[in-house]
Assembly symmetry: C2
Homo-oligomer: 134 residues x 2
């Protein structure tokens, strides 16, 4: 029950992007240095964020990454849903739940409730707010 380094790095990069503002793409080399994130590690994470549609990339010289949406429309929940392989509290409570006990499991409703509570809270934190204190 923990957020991975991957998730924390992703959040930090996204906040850094939001803090920069503007539409000029930011090269990952700079972002990684600023945020003290291992370059090659965050490289892979960026690919996932692109695929998820949260950022877009510009290849070649003077390229980099930029947000696809205004910072107030991107939440921590959006980002963590991409990076956390299992965003759910318990794997058995996900939507592809093939747990044989599902019908009678006394804890399933609790996991569902926990998922909803986490999601609801993380949705309240947008990049706009998160980047404010930077």
């Amino acid at each position: 029950m923990i957020v991975s380094a991957k998730g924390r790095y992703a959040l930090r990069v996204m906040i850094a992007l939001a803090a920069r503002g503007g539409t000029k793409p930011a090269p990952l080399k700079e972002l990684a240095a600023e945020e003290e994130i291992p370059y090659k590690f965050i490289e892979g994470i960026m690919t996932e964020l692109v695929k998820a549609g949260l950022v877009e990339s510009v290849r070649g010289k003077n390229g980099g990454y930029r947000l696809t949406r205004p910072p107030e429309e991107c939440t921590a929940a959006d980002i963590l849903r991409v990076t956390e392989s299992s965003f759910a509290a318990a794997e058995c409570a996900g939507k592809d739940a093939d747990c044989p006990r599902a019908q009678t499991c006394p804890t399933l409703p609790m996991w569902r409730a926990l998922d909803e509570a986490m999601e609801a809270l993380l949705k309240k934190y947008t990049l706009l707010e998160l980047a404010k204190s930077v």
Copy 2:
């Protein structure tokens, strides 16, 4: 961001104990078989639950485990706090947080809020309620 098998097993055993009621100790062999939990695995977990004071053990023949408190006074939060090595959303948000960024970290308040939300929700589920549907 997930609850481990260890945590789920612990919950199931505790619910099974609550469902039995009474003060007669339940042998782990039975509980493990009922709940389809690997015996040797749950054995180690029981030791931790005993140390945490949630159950007590009776050794020797006709021995077993029983709850130390009435089921309405033991919550999912109590149990998961024992089994989950890191109960916090992010390790940097725990009480022994030695993260150098802590002072300026824009996400720390969010992790704290997430921790509180999770804890609050898990506290609402007592063994009494959880065992009702069994």
